[in-house]
Amino acid sequence: MNNLTIKASKYTPAIELNAETNTLTISGKSYPENTFDFYAPVITWLQEYFSSDTVEKTTLNMDIIYFNSSSSKLFFDLFDLLEEAQDGGKEITVNWYYDEENESAEEAGEDFKEDFEEMDFNIIKK
């Protein structure tokens, strides 16, 4: 399947979903006004990606400096989708990166980790 690349804007992150390396990367700021519309292609891509039998170990790298409340909901749904894939037998790792000075990014990562206890969810200081 094709890879999905979306360039960063002032209020949306850079996204690179690579089906060859099985690496998903979302980095930057995320505070669009139409969050669910913006991420719809990402969700669709992931659903297709995980429906394939060949996919095995997948890594999601999240390096988000700031996100708004609707992005928070969207990320929750994204991790939920990954957890479902894991329940279906896929091997998944989530790496949540944060800057040492950015307490809210660290806390947000910890909160997500609590919600997805069954996942390999790493909080990593840059």
Partner: protein, 180 residues
């Protein structure tokens, strides 16, 4: 009023930034970056800067999504008149983000109930409620997750201050002030 008087009033209120006009996503992100770089230039702590930016964003996006005067320019792209100031309260020695917009009178009880409930919660209660609402998706609509006021409360050190002033049979003036 002269601009000198206006400037004096801004100084008296400790206002660092003020805006009144049409708010849209590009304006929001431009202003947000300006405030951010101003605060960085003032050598403010990164975490305080991030909190101010976060509260500002939630307030602006609320105005864009819920103001009675909002316009849909393109599909799901809104703009709406609003007022916003960021300031430093000299007595409390705390920063605040204060904004206002015209609301539909029908939204009054919904908004009041929501904020009043949030104001009863302590830090752990806020976190719990936030996570519950995020998981259930009960507040989700086309443009958000119904988490905006909670997001503000999480970043604030005090209860959310709000005021609703009736204008006529259909409209009220809604203002919210959040101390960081």
């Amino acid at each position: 009023m002269t601009m000198f008087q206006f400037k004096e009033m801004l100084e008296k209120e400790g206002i660092i930034f003020s805006f009144s006009g049409t708010i849209s996503q590009p304006i929001l992100s431009g202003i947000g970056e300006t405030i951010e770089s101003d605060l960085v230039a003032m050598e403010m702590d990164t975490n305080v800067t991030m909190k101010i930016f976060a509260v500002f964003t939630e307030q602006m996006q609320n105005i864009m999504s819920y103001s009675k005067e909002r316009r849909e320019n393109r599909e799901n792209r809104h703009s709406s008149p609003g007022i916003c100031v960021v300031g430093l309260d000299a007595q409390k020695e705390k920063y605040y983000v204060h904004s206002a917009n015209i609301m539909d009178i029908k939204d009054e009880p919904i908004v009041s109930k929501k904020i009043d409930h949030i104001n009863t919660l302590d830090d752990s209660g806020l976190k719990k409620y936030y996570k519950e609402l995020r998981r259930s998706g009960k507040g989700v609509h086309g443009r958000g997750a119904g988490l905006g006021f909670l997001e503000m409360a999480k970043r604030s050190c005090e209860p959310l201050e709000y005021r609703i002033t009736n204008i006529d049979d259909e409209r009220s003036f809604f203002e919210i002030k959040v101390y960081i």
